[in-house]
């Protein structure tokens, strides 16, 4: 499937493809950050 048929820059992104990859990486980073915070901010005494 053709991903990008609107040519040209999208703001700071050179193409739609790079924009989509940024969103996907952002989604993964959010999950990673929340997973780490879940562990770091757990102070319970129970095992």
């Amino acid at each position: 499937m053709k991903v990008d048929d609107d040519q040209g820059r999208i703001g700071v992104f050179p193409s739609w493809r790079s924009m989509y990859w940024t969103v996907l990486v952002y989604g993964l980073v959010v999950i990673a950050v929340l997973t780490i915070l879940s562990r770091v901010l757990s102070f319970g005494a129970a095992p």
Binding site: I10, V23, L24, G27, L34, S38, L41, S42, F43, G44
Partner: protein, 559 residues
């Protein structure tokens, strides 16, 4: 509420109404009414998309949910960025280039008229109900804060929203959504600021985070594989991915938004905007709930937050039993408060920290059990499940928010509700007029006639939502109720669109049969298994695609 609060509250309504009517002055005909003459900027659409999804239910229900269960609800939104990319690549270009008014109109271009009618009908049924629940949520708040009758509140909200939606159509809706969404952002900041201000001296951000962490309230990711649990990472990623594809890709209340853009690029940008902002916003809203949990370590919380539920129990034979639970709650709270303050004083020295943490955990468990017991009494007395979770944040607002900010926060809750309701009724109206009235009854009428009918159907759906709202009090946690209603239809609707996009040989008959079998499958799964409702979307979509493909392969005349 003081005069200042009232002034802010009234100012909000006057401001929103004036702004909506001013912005919609250039609307022309029915395309102007439903699509804003396709000239809306992407950032306004993006905020409107966000406002449509973030109703008052989001603000009230999720803070209450976080108060009881912590941050785990955020997992529900983690698939959203991934869904947005698929929507931008596949869904938006097809809708945009088809020059349709509604998502279901596209299905007639691709399949046939009966598929359009069936999907349009399902949308009207499910979202008509949803609009009623959206209207009901802020009525709860005002019934608590202002002592107003819930029905009166519902009526006032419905009249104002229907008025500006009828007058200005989608343009008024999108521009009011922009204002309302900015107010919601402001409201989140105010609520967080007020919560920190109300903590005792010596308890700051670090201490609040620590106290919440003792009970694991900040835990936002659950990696366990349990399909019966709605709030795990896997439920969120798999079920949420399908739910968001369905919601943003097949629900007219969202599709209509990005069809108003000036270009395909702007349509896409409006969703990308949401892909970046939605999860952080939800984290902040849930943090309010967790901070409320921390706050009530230092201030005695009610056992049950809903005044109506407490009043019902106190007038019943179970009153003595309930009062005994309240007394026990006061004792346990005093012990927890003392232990928490001592822990915060001593935690830097490290002496006795683990013992104190265990004590606090024990008190927390006791208080949770007392709250569960109290809610059981409420349920037995009233004959319906308790929806106390929706009163947690409003109760805090009434008792602890200073003058001026109270009026602002009430306006925010109104804003959140109205920005979702206006989108729903304009979407319901567009589907009614375009998919049914113009398609089946009056295909050749004038533009002015359709505009008149569009305003009339907007009024009708406002009244319908009002009727549903009157009975919404019988439902439990509102946020889950709305999502559950959607889940019975959404997955199957998504399946029809997936057939249209990805199976070139699929037909209208295959799609319609698939849709009905898909919905029956979801119903079957819901009554025979404990699988979380988030997976219903996956089941519905997969069944529709498979059945649609099988029907297409059947010899002609057999189906």
């Amino acid at each position: 509420m003081t005069p200042i609060d009232w002034a802010l509250f009234v100012l909000y309504f006057v401001g929103v109404l004036s702004f909506a009517l001013y912005q919609s002055r250039k609307n022309e005909g029915v395309e102007g009414f439903f699509l804003g003459n396709r000239r809306m900027p992407w950032w306004a659409i993006g905020l409107s998309v966000m406002a449509t999804q973030a109703s008052a239910i989001t603000f009230i229900g999720t803070t209450g949910q976080a108060f009881d269960d912590g941050m785990e609800f955020v997992q529900f939104y983690l698939a959203l960025p991934f869904s947005m990319v698929v929507l931008c690549i596949v869904f938006i270009p097809l809708f945009y280039r088809a020059k349709v008014f509604t998502a279901y109109e596209y299905l007639e271009q691709r399949f046939d008229s009966k598929t359009r009618a069936l999907t349009g009908f399902l949308f009207l049924v499910s979202r008509g109900m949803g609009a009623g629940i959206i209207l009901y949520a802020p009525a709860i708040v005002l019934s608590v804060i202002l002592g107003w009758d819930e029905r009166l509140t519902i009526m006032v909200m419905a009249i104002i929203t229907v008025f500006y939606t009828m007058a200005g159509g989608i343009t008024a809706v999108i521009w009011t959504d922009v204002v309302q969404m900015l107010m919601v952002f402001g409201g989140i900041a105010v609520a967080l600021f007020a919560l920190f201000s109300n903590l005792p001296d010596g308890v700051g951000l670090a201490e609040a985070v620590y106290v919440g962490g003792i009970q694991d309230m900040w835990r936002s990711v659950d990696l366990s594989w349990d399909p019966t649990n709605t709030y795990t990472l896997w439920s969120g990623l798999l079920g949420g991915f399908f739910l968001f594809l369905a919601y943003f890709g097949t629900d007219q209340s969202q599709v209509q938004r990005y069809l108003t853009a000036t270009s395909l690029k702007d349509s896409r940008l409006s969703l990308i905007f949401n892909a970046f902002l939605k999860v952080p916003m939800q984290v902040l809203i849930l943090s309010i709930g967790v901070l409320l949990f921390v706050f009530y370590h230092f201030e005695e919380p009610p056992l049950v937050f809903s005044p109506a539920e407490v009043a019902a129990v106190e007038e019943s034979e179970r009153a003595a039993e309930f009062r005994a639970l309240e007394e026990e709650k006061s004792e346990v709270h005093s012990l927890r408060r003392a232990a928490t303050l001592e822990l915060l004083e001593d935690r830097n020295s490290g002496l006795g920290v683990l013992d104190r943490q265990r004590m606090i955990e024990g008190y927390d468990s006791q208080l949770r059990e007392l709250r569960v017991d109290a809610k059981e009494i409420v349920s037995e007395v009233r004959g319906t499940s308790s929806n106390d979770v929706n009163y947690v944040f409003p109760t805090y607002i009434i008792n602890f928010i200073p003058t001026g900010l109270l009026g602002l926060l009430i306006a925010v809750i109104f804003a959140a509700a109205m920005s979702s309701l206006d989108s729903e009724i304009t979407a319901l109206s567009s589907a009614t007029v375009m998919d049914f009235y113009r398609r089946w009854f009056r295909p050749d009428a004038s533009d002015g006639h359709y505009l008149f009918v569009s305003r009339l159907t907007t009024l009708f759906w406002g009244l319908f939502a009002f009727g549903v709202a009157l009975y919404a009090g019988q439902l439990g946690s509102l946020i889950e109720a709305v999502n559950q209603i959607g889940s019975f239809f959404y997955g199957s609707l998504l399946g029809v669109f997936l057939l249209a996009f990805f199976v070139p040989k699929s037909t209208g008959t295959g799609a319609s049969v698939g849709l009905l079998v898909g919905m029956a499958s979801v119903f079957l799964v819901s009554i025979t298994t404990d699988v979380s409702w988030l997976y219903y979307n996956v089941v519905g979509a997969v069944v529709v695609v498979v059945v649609g493909m099988v029907v297409n392969r059947a010899p002609e005349g057999r189906v």
